[in-house]
Symmetry: C2
Subunit: 277 residues, 2 copies
């Protein structure tokens, strides 16, 4: 079935989705972005078929905005959506977004599904979007009150645009996992680079410095909003990490080779176990 798909927000993720849908499916894509130049480029380059004006004509609305803006847009537009249409957000936190919109959508006979594409780059905006961004990546879906036909249709679209794996979970579990695997990693990378010695790293690294600092380059406004919407999980993860670092620090301060070796061996074994899975 040829669908009318609307995408609000043509940044890195929204525009990449538009391009990937245009490239891999027959669906019509209507886009909207606050930036006029982006709209101009998206239309000119054929990333979208037209400007999103009529929400009532959509089979699927993808909201690719920052969390609070996404919630506001969904609450504002859901009345215009037709019964039996689908709304999906792609925010990096799910509980806060999903709890604010899922039930409202359902009450308008609109299916809602929260999604989080595990794909990103250190550069963002329309100009860094690409139709291949999701190739082989994981898509996390957090259905709640979602009918199976809607879930199936979203899954088909995810497969079509290149995702290599679809993971289902609930919003709370998503936020807990992502707080650790992604958000904490970004904080760590950002905190690690704040040592004046970093300016001279070249020639003094075999690659670990680059690996540890790759994601220090990020969109500060977006990540700040994501962190604060996942506050308690992040605080818990930060406490675990800082306590862990203190253990190594203590062993080093005490010149305790046996303890230090043990701490390192434990970490090495964990990594090895993950690799072997």
């Amino acid at each position: 079935m040829k669908q009318n798909i609307g995408i609000v927000g043509l940044g890195l993720i929204g525009a990449s989705l538009a391009m990937a849908i245009k490239q891999n499916t027959e669906h019509n894509v209507y886009g909207l972005d606050i930036n006029e130049q982006t709209m101009h480029r998206a239309l000119e380059e054929g990333s979208i078929d037209g400007v999103l004006e009529d929400y009532g004509a959509l089979d699927l609305l993808i909201v690719a905005l920052f969390p609070q803006a996404a919630v506001e847009l969904i609450l504002d537009k859901v009345e215009q959506m037709k019964p039996g249409s689908i709304v999906m957000d792609i925010c990096g936190v799910k509980k806060s977004v999903v709890t604010q919109v899922a039930q409202v959508c359902k009450s308008h006979k609109v299916e809602f599904i929260g999604g989080h594409p595990m794909a990103g780059r250190e550069r963002w905006g329309y100009e860094n979007a690409t139709a291949t961004l999701f190739n082989g990546a994981s898509m996390i879906l957090t259905p709640i009150f979602t009918d199976s036909w809607a879930l199936e249709r979203v899954q088909q679209l995810c497969n079509a645009v290149g995702f290599g794996r679809i993971v289902f979970t609930d919003p709370e579990s998503h936020d807990k996992m992502i707080g650790y695997t992604s958000q904490l990693a970004h904080i760590l990378s950002s905190a690690y680079i704040k040592n004046p010695l970093c300016m001279n790293y070249k020639g003094y690294t075999g690659g670990s410095f680059q690996d540890l600092t790759r994601v220090a380059r990020l969109n500060p406004v977006m990540w700040s909003e994501l962190f604060l919407l996942n506050r308690q999980n992040l605080l818990d993860d930060l406490d675990i990490l800082i306590a862990s670092l203190q253990e190594y620090r203590h062993a080093i301060e005490e010149n305790d080779a046996q303890r230090l070796t043990q701490l390192l061996a434990d970490g090495s074994r964990i990594k090895e176990a993950l690799n072997e899975e």
Copy 2:
């Protein structure tokens, strides 16, 4: 000039050096390893020309052992070395090693130079060695009391085996830089992975988790020794890092979006500046 090169310790670095020297130069390579099976394989595969027995016949001795073992071997064998020969260690800490051996070597008319190849893998030992390990990598040399002819000869060898960059510095500066760019990165990676959530990371990462944990897999005994020989620098770096993490934690706890955004923007700017160099 065809040289007789001895290599003690045929682990990842020693054996890779042996292979790279055999592959790229005409020098003779004599090796020694405590592990009989390793010796057998190294001889059989032609990674070395023979067993190192006569230290007096060497033009260059490369000591590829852990730091304390390297110091002991050098102090034990330097009397057998001929005047005008060169000794090089390749340990990951330099001050402790260099201060224990440089002057002793000089008093025997043997040139000493400390080196640290910035190349490694998450797997070690002879079985993971490869002649291409150093291709394009950086080699740090910390000459002290070293004659220029000796330095030149070591540089020629480094270039021949594939190093892409040679950096000169003093042992103290080396340890300070490496404490941050490499050792702290390894501790951080090891500490970060110690969160029970790590077991479920698959499907919940776009790559940052893998980047942050790559070097958690390490040789615990070797790294423990390296850390304790660079104790004060590491403690300083750990304090800077933990204080930095506490700043992010505080902004999150206080729900201070402005401060959090600022912290992230600062880190992002630093990373961008490093990339642009």
